[in-house]
Symmetry: C2
């Protein structure tokens, strides 16, 4: 039993082609990262016509879903640092996709909105994002994609 335990814990199948990954097989983070990299790569490629990166896209969607909120609120929602969000917004503002207005209730904060240009752009962006999601479903299978989404969504 002791030897069986040891064997079960240390032996890993070495595929004929390529190398084995050893105990990485037991690490969720490894596979999580590999898939995440694939997903982001595909997203960047698919969204290249609009030159939108994942972080920018997430900011646009959250502003769309919560117009008029402050940068701090957006940053907290997306777990982005305020400093980083400020720079992201600077780019989006230069592209005329968002506008910062002075908040009526708090002179420190800015209220964030999509501009008309931003809404138009987001419409096109969403079409590409949908295509990306379809490609992802093709890569890992629609069923597995939904299972992963359900599992991960529960503690966003």
């Amino acid at each position: 039993m002791r030897t069986a335990e040891k064997a079960a814990a240390t032996e890993w199948p070495t595929p004929k082609e390529g190398l084995g990954i050893g105990q990485l097989e037991n690490h969720l983070g490894y596979f999580l990262r590999r898939l995440q990299i694939w997903v982001f790569q595909d997203f960047i490629q698919t969204l290249r016509p609009m030159k939108v990166r994942p972080a920018q896209y997430s900011v646009l969607l959250v502003i769309e879903a919560n117009p008029g909120r402050s940068q701090a609120a957006i940053a907290q929602t997306l777990s982005i640092e305020r400093a980083r969000l400020a720079r992201l917004l600077h780019v989006l503002e230069k592209r005329k996709w968002i506008s910062r207005r002075a908040s009526a209730s708090d002179a420190r904060s800015h209220s964030l909105y999509l501009t008309n240009d931003g809404e138009k752009a987001l419409t096109r962006i969403k079409i590409l994002a949908k295509r990306h999601e379809a490609q992802l479903a093709g890569f890992i299978g629609p069923r597995r994609r939904q299972q992963l989404l359900d599992l991960l969504r529960e503690f966003g």
Copy 2:
């Protein structure tokens, strides 16, 4: 039916506390990245006593599982660029954890091995890594962790 479709596609629950994330709810990449960041953060924190980062850890495990292989083979296995792996190995070599020997069959390539120090360090590293994985199971639940692992492992 048309209105129902539209409602199902555009309305999102806005939680009482915090902001909604809009159509990000439908993007696997978003949740994938959030969990991956949590996992890596916890890994880095837990492994801090050994000052090992995820990439270094993965390299050590793959060398352990495939001693004597070339940098190109390791890089391909982990989908790391040769350039990046070279710099990673420089650090590991300075810490006396790995050794590069001239390959007998190919003068261009190096054969990679763990040193005795490297094996000893890896033993301690694995203990911390196991602790990290336990913490992850505590965070998302052991059952969900296993489900995610099974789902993700199928197309490493």
